[in-house]
Symmetry: none
Subunit: 235 residues, 2 copies
């Protein structure tokens, strides 16, 4: 799966820096020096994320973002803005209601990549049909199977069976491993906004998942963060 990112940035050095770092992270970068160019690109390619850079100061950036959010074809594309330090953050927050996230300059490449990944994860969390393997568990979304690798070198990995909900829960937790999720977040992601369930129901599914994992000797993979939520972690 390839992810395409459109960068709208008039400063050549910054543009280069961003594009380089994106490539290094395995993402495809398209660059535009101005809004007109960006519009032309979007006609042909629908990016997974748009980064709007320094042109913000001219208000052109905000206008462009708004335009993207209005059009049906583009309105679900997340937008990340790079804003200058000196503009009051309240003003920015007011202006950029259509924007998914923003970074205040100057920022480190590392920070940029982290933020991009965060935005993408929020948008396309379970798009990956890829096999995910972590903490001795191998989960295959296509075959809907989970295998367990035990420590004692049995060549035969045991297979465990999970109910549909438990499977989705484990999948989500494994994709976003190490990250704590509140019950509300899990509810949003696994049940959707329009299905109403008690928050405690999530505890129950966590328990069911834990029980089956414990049966094959995998304890402590699904952890409780008291007062916050749950987390999948390999220590």
């Amino acid at each position: 799966m390839t992810i395409t990112i459109l960068i709208v940035e008039d400063e050549p050095i910054l543009q280069e820096m961003i594009s380089l770092n994106l490539k290094r992270a395995g993402l495809i970068a398209l660059c535009a020096d101005n809004v007109e160019q960006a519009k032309r690109i979007i006609i042909n390619v629908l990016p997974d994320l748009v980064i709007i850079g320094g042109i913000l100061s001219s208000m052109e950036g905000i206008e462009f973002a708004r335009r993207l959010k209005i059009e049906e074809r583009t309105k679900s594309i997340p937008i990340l803005m790079l804003t200058a330090q000196d503009q009051g953050s309240e003003i920015i927050a007011d202006l950029v209601v259509d924007v998914e996230d923003y970074i205040i300059k100057p920022f480190s490449p590392h920070e940029l990549i982290a933020r991009i990944k965060a935005v993408l994860r929020r948008r396309l969390p379970e798009m990956a049909d890829e096999i995910i393997q972590w903490g001795g568990l191998k989960l295959d979304p296509t075959t809907h199977r989970v295998h367990v690798y035990t420590k004692d070198e049995q060549l035969e990995p045991a297979e465990i069976t999970l109910g549909p909900t438990e499977f989705r829960l484990l999948h989500f937790l494994m994709i976003n491993r190490e990250r704590v999720h509140t019950r509300a977040q899990l509810q949003d992601r696994l049940w959707g906004d329009h299905v109403f369930i008690e928050e405690r129901t999530i505890d129950v599914y966590i328990r069911r998942l834990r029980t089956t994992l414990k049966a094959v000797g995998k304890e402590n993979l699904v952890q409780t963060v008291r007062g916050i939520g749950y987390r999948f972690s390999v220590e």
Copy 2:
């Protein structure tokens, strides 16, 4: 941060029920019996969310929602509609394109609050979730973990566990490190201004934080500024 919610609902009992539950959840509720009254309120106060109730049946509600979405000043306010069961949900979905979300009556108070929070959560920008590293402490808001780097070059940084409040306290102090915070400021930022706390309580949490830090050899990171408040400092 206070969140204000405008309720437009002509049924007094329902209005009362909603407003009561909002207050209990720490949200400020403004009530209007009809659309005219609601308009007058909006001139003075810009709410963070509008709940439109039973008046929907008269089409007045939809018209009102549309009006809100057109005006520049109000168009970014999310709208939550309470709709009656008997109206076909497809019809409603068609009509209320301007609405962020809707609940079908009858609903439980709990469900209402959950939905409100979901709508607000979607709108509010993600909290600053960058890793903060200072004074030998590394705090990661996404994984909700704190690691300690000891001087004696152990490659394994120790992990410490903090209660939710201690964690938030440390996070806040680290973000605003070197700056002194009065107890009142800490109270505002960590508990919000609608929760009443004894000022001494903050001393207690400072102490709890200090105790766990001291246990891993990190003394003097949280400092007292006598007569003013507290500060996180790396000397």
